[in-house]
């Protein structure tokens, strides 16, 4: 058999590796800053771009798509070539992918800070960037598939199954969730509204965790763990079962983010049971990882790479057990909207994603520079700092989440709420402080890694093209009985299609009834479209990222109904493109804020929140008092809404600004009565108009009912 000689492309791996390290630090800094802002709002510097509502999306996007994204590409570009015994399909596509992705990250950072956002978590980027992501993702797909098709290895290793499933599912999720109608160059409205938008968004949000933060990393684990430990993978058949079960079940579980909301009960129940069934398929990955280390646990004590991996896999196991438990309604009733969830995701983020990325960096860089790691001791220190950081981060937040949630629910024997919302916040501020210390410790660990890797690079010599040898693909020879699954491992396209079918089932079976069956969203006659001024105000609400701290979803619980008002109904959100239910209550729920306070209260509160509620941790939004409202966008916004089915009268787009003016002036007049002099054309006026409208329509319904009865 003639051996063929070829070269692995290490340069592209190096580029993605550098990007990983840089964005690790950037993303964590953004996170640390956001964490500090929660207890020290003045650190927002009083500037719009650096306020929590914009820094938080920057942090999540930077960590998910820049740090973890680049770490995935680093690992995939390294392992795919070696598992397929070939160079990447096209160097040109590799570099288009690399620079395309970094450009997307850069534009994401800029636009998010400027306030361009769709207002949907982890999918905040506006439509031109969404299109760019789709294109770059396709480039990555072509390059990956090209490589697979020209492989010198007949069968696809389990790592590649995970890469393929990741690619096809992320493509599906991104495209379906990003359906939006452009209003202008950097503004769009979600195609879906209210309950349906929420369902699609959390189908996406949950599976972004599943297929961006989990499956590709599992693929990487299947390559780097046996390599680093020099042990055979524990069980081939476990790989098969947990792979297919995982990708099939994961996609259904999205509605567990919407338990007790206005989402129909059947969809909520599906979210619960599919989460429950996910425990063991998720653990299959953990077991296959940990059991691979059988017989080399003495090595784990010495080798920092293995240490990182063991803690990462353990964190994965804990988070994937906790997730299903959080999907049980009685646990969710306490945990949802609280810091418990933030702690939960950071076990996954810091533990699983962070530690796996670090382990891969420590493995790859010495290999590609033909040297050994500069200092094992430093890496060990990094490991301990990281671990302590995770504990310091998570434990206080679990405590904070649990205690705050119980405070929300506490009544006096006389039947009054025992705690004002603000009291429950100030009570957990010490926990917020500790958490940010945990984050800082973790970041210091990461900086040690940067130094260590730098020193390693300096002492080694980079091998841009690594020589390798392999026989060309031989005609298939069957000898003896083979496992049935080997069949599909020879057929990458079949595997791709099969994965797509398996992951599409859950989504289709949840969406079709939710969109087509009317009874899922019962209409409420008194719910009317927003006035143009309220619509503009709503866009400001979205722009400032209010949803990062305030929910608009009153769940049917005694404490929430007493605290906020009647629980939210599905029919109230039919004109909400996008929905703004939120996922965390750092501030109180706003679903029935309309009419609760006076216009002047809102005006003063936006200028200096602490003046209206002493001790508040909300930052000042004083620029809203000075910024002039851009009314030139009103007609386009009305037309876009009409296209989405919002019943504004024909030709209303031309008259809308007249109504904007009239409503603005009436609000300015009401402010004047309370001794506040302001021009009527400021953004604050639009925001007040919106806030005074939220959740009020249903009160009108009640009045109508009463008059009808009389």
């Amino acid at each position: 058999m003639q051996m063929e000689k070829f070269y692995y492309d290490n340069k592209i791996v190096k580029a993605f590796g550098y990007a990983t390290v840089i964005f690790a630090v950037v993303g964590m800094l953004a996170g640390l800053w956001a964490a500090i802002q929660i207890y020290a709002p003045s650190t927002s510097l009083g500037l719009a771009p650096t306020t929590f509502g914009r820094i938080r999306p920057l942090h999540t996007n930077a960590i998910i798509f820049a740090f973890v994204g680049n770490s995935i590409f680093t690992g995939v570009y390294y392992s795919l070539q070696r598992l397929c015994k070939t160079r990447m399909f096209s160097d040109k596509l590799s570099w288009i992918h690399f620079w395309g992705w970094q450009l997307i990250i850069a534009s994401a950072a800029i636009t998010l800070l400027m306030g361009y956002t769709t207002g949907k978590e982890y999918a905040e980027l506006e439509w031109p960037i969404d299109i760019a992501i789709t294109l770059v993702w396709v480039v990555f797909g072509i390059n990956m598939f090209g490589t697979i098709l020209k492989r010198r290895e007949r069968h696809l290793y389990v790592a590649i199954w995970f890469y393929i499933a990741t690619w096809v599912t992320i493509a599906m999720l991104h495209i379906v969730n990003s359906f939006e109608i452009p209003v202008s160059f950097m503004k769009s409205y979600s195609w879906y509204a209210g309950v349906q938008d929420a369902l699609v968004q959390w189908w996406y949000g949950h599976n972004a965790v599943a297929f961006f933060l989990t499956t590709p990393i599992l693929g990487l684990m299947y390559y780097f763990l046996p390599k680093a430990a020099n042990r055979p993978v524990y069980s081939y058949r476990l790989s098969i079962i947990h792979f297919w079960a995982l990708i099939f079940l994961y996609i259904w579980a999205g509605p567990h983010h919407l338990l007790y909301t206005s989402l129909p009960d059947w969809a909520q129940s599906l979210g619960t049971v599919f989460s429950l069934m996910l425990i063991f398929p998720s653990w299959g990955g953990m077991l296959n990882g940990l059991f691979t280390l059988r017989g080399v646990w003495d090595k784990v004590r010495e080798e920092p790479i293995l240490k990182f991996m063991v803690v990462a896999i353990t964190c994965y196991g804990m988070a994937t057990l906790e997730g299903p438990l959080l999907s049980l309604k009685n646990v969710n009733a306490i945990a949802h909207f609280s810091d418990w969830i933030i702690a939960h995701v950071h076990i996954g983020g810091l533990g699983w994603n962070g530690f796996m990325a670090f382990a891969i960096m420590y493995y790859l860089i010495p290999k590609m520079w033909g040297t050994t790691l500069y200092s094992k001791k430093l890496a060990n220190n990094h490991f301990w700092l990281g671990t302590i950081g995770i504990i310091l981060y998570a434990v206080p937040l679990y405590w904070a989440g649990f205690s705050q949630s119980l405070m929300w629910k506490t009544f006096t024997p006389e039947g009054q709420l025992k705690f004002q919302f603000l009291e429950t916040v100030t009570n957990i501020i010490p926990m917020y402080v500790t958490r940010s210390v945990g984050g800082l410790v973790y970041l210091i660990g990461a900086l040690l890694m940067v130094y260590n890797l730098y020193k390693t690079i300096v002492q080694g010599k980079f091998i841009p093209n690594e020589e390798a040898e392999a026989a060309p693909l031989q005609k298939l020879e069957r000898h003896g009985k083979e496992h049935w699954h080997r069949w599909i491992e020879r057929r990458p396209v079949t595997l791709l299609v099969a994965s797509l079918i398996v992951v599409a089932i859950g989504g289709i079976l949840e969406f079709v009834p939710a969109f087509l069956v009317k009874s899922n969203v019962p209409t409420i006659a008194s719910v009317k479209p927003y006035t143009p001024l309220e619509l503009q105000g709503r866009d400001i609400y979205v722009r400032e990222g209010c949803y990062t701290c305030h929910s608009q979803m009153i769940r049917p619980f005694r404490d929430e109904v007493v605290r906020y008002g009647e629980y939210s109904k599905a029919g109230e959100f039919v004109y909400d493109h996008p929905f703004q239910w939120g996922s965390k209550r750092t501030g109180p729920d706003l679903a029935r804020i309309g009419g609760k306070y006076s216009d002047s209260w809102h005006y003063n509160h936006m200028d200096d929140p602490a003046s209206m509620s002493p001790g508040s941790v909300m930052p000042s939004y004083s620029w809203l008092l000075d910024n002039k409202l851009d009314t030139s966008s009103t007609p386009a916004k009305i037309r876009a809404m009409q296209k989405l089915g919002v019943p504004y009268p024909e030709g209303y787009d031309r008259k809308a600004n007249t109504d904007v003016k009239a409503q603005s002036e009436s609000i300015a007049a009401s402010l004047k009565k309370d001794k506040i002099e302001t021009p009527a054309d400021r953004e604050i006026i639009a925001l007040i108009a919106y806030l005074q409208r939220v959740g009020k329509d249903i009160k009108q319904e009640k009045k109508n009912e009463q008059t009808a009865l009389k």
């Binding site: 392992s79 070696r82 598992l83 015994k85 290895e153 069968h155 290793y157 390559y223 046996p226 390599k227 055979p232 993978v233 524990y234 069980s235 081939y236 058949r237 476990l238 790989s239 079962i241 079960a245 007790y260 009960d265 059947w266 129940s269 049971v273 599919f274 429950l276 069934m277 425990i279 063991f280 398929p281 653990w283 299959g284 077991l287 059991f291 059988r294 017989g295 006096t412 024997p413 006389e414 039947g415 009054q416 709420l417 004002q420 496992h483 049917p556 005694r558 109904v561 007493v562 605290r563 009419g595 609760k596 006076s598 209260w601 003063n604 003046s611 209206m612 509620s613 002493p614 309370d674």
Partner: protein, 381 residues
């Protein structure tokens, strides 16, 4: 004499019978809730939840022990074949007998429990207890059998003390069906990818059965919420909890004898009450009405003009239920406390603070009020 294979099959089919009857029992007992009023409340019953959880845990224990026992029996039989001995067979036969009697008992339990005891949970409670009892019996039987098998092993197998792994390690190995590392070559697959080899270890039994249990639980869950309607959906759950809370509060207030409301409230002038009222005023009201009551965002409380009525009852109502921009305070403060705030507000009358807001609303004179009330009648809307 039966071959090892058929014997094994029979044991596992027995085991399956027991499991099925337990699952059926779980499901049927939950149907019982649906049949009897007031159905959904019993599901909030922590006792019921605890019992169901216990039942499930014991079920898992039974499955695990069953697997373990089967494995042990298999080894035993293998050994017997080699030793040409009859002792083990007796043991296996005994095991079969024991299990069959147990499973028969489990089936009986369903029909034997009387449904005559009043209250909704009596029947459910006893049937659940019966299931638990049966489960415990099965576990006991399994344990006895296992001990029996293991004892025999100890007598025959000689091992030097130092080579035996600690019990926990051995147990862990059995739980996962680990293949000893030395024998790994037998299950190594004939391929490698970039130097990565793969073993074909069996699925850890607890993992596989755990997966099955979650699937069964999911079916039961969906069945209960959406087919049998024996568990309350969000909205029902809400109504139940509101009703319970109302009753509790009512009972508490009645017991305490503190039942002031807008119809019975009178002006409090006692220094203690005014101080209490002032304390609340200074936290809750100052943001809008200023510390001296002169008004800021909210109206001036020190003049003679009132927007929603200036007598005790109307002020009490305005504070309690809120109106327009004035938030409601009944969710934060008790009626007693609201009466104290009302008293304090009334005490501010005529203090003429500096920078006070201009008068709003209608004139209200204390003495005139005695003659005819100018109050706005419906504060709440």
């Amino acid at each position: 004499m039966l071959s090892a294979i058929t014997r094994k099959n029979r044991i596992s089919s027995r085991l399956k019978g027991v499991l099925m009857s337990i699952v059926l029992l779980t499901v049927t007992s939950s149907r019982v809730f649906a049949a009897e009023p007031p159905a959904p409340t019993s599901l909030n019953n922590p006792l019921a939840l605890t019992l169901v959880t216990l039942m499930i845990i014991l079920l898992i224990v039974i499955i695990m022990l069953g697997r373990l026992l089967l494995g042990l029996a298999e080894i035993k039989l293998q050994k017997e074949k080699e030793e040409k001995s009859n002792k083990g067979t007796t043991a296996a036969m005994l095991l079969v007998l024991l299990l069959s009697s147990v499973s028969a008992f489990a089936q009986d339990a369903v029909s034997e429990v009387p449904a005559t005891i009043g209250g909704l949970s009596a029947f459910a409670f006893y049937s659940m207890m019966a299931v638990l009892f049966v489960e415990l019996l099965i576990i006991l039987a399994l344990l006895i059998n296992m001990k029996f098998l293991l004892q025999k092993d100890k007598e025959t197998v000689f091992e030097p003390a130092f080579a035996r792994p600690p019990a926990i390690v051995a147990w862990w190995g059995r739980l996962n069906k680990f293949k000893p590392i030395e024998q790994e070559a037998a299950i190594e697959l004939d391929h490698e990818y970039d130097g990565i080899r793969e073993l074909d270890n069996r699925l850890p039994p607890w993992w596989l059965y755990g997966f099955y249990v979650t699937i069964i639980l999911s079916v039961v869950y969906l069945w209960r919420y959406h087919v049998a309607y024996s568990a309350p959906l969000s909205k029902e759950e809400f109504e139940i909890s509101m009703k319970e809370a109302d009753e509790k509060v009512k009972a508490y207030l009645e017991a305490k004898g503190e039942s002031v409301d807008e119809n019975t409230v009178t002006l409090l002038t006692d220094a203690g009450d005014l101080a209490a009222g002032k304390a609340i005023f200074n936290t809750a009201c100052v943001a809008c009405h200023k510390a001296d009551g002169g008004g800021l965002v909210g109206p001036n409380l020190t003049d003679e003009y009132w927007m929603h009525g200036g007598d005790v009852k109307n002020i009490f109502k305005t504070i309690k239920y809120g109106i327009n921009a004035m938030p409601q305070w009944q969710t934060s403060y008790s009626n007693k406390q609201i009466a104290q705030i009302t008293g304090y507000v009334k005490s501010l009358h005529g203090t003429n603070p500096p920078d006070a807001k201009a008068a709003e609303g209608e004139l209200y004179k204390e003495d005139a009020a005695a003659a005819g009330d100018t109050a706005v009648d419906s504060v709440k809307n």
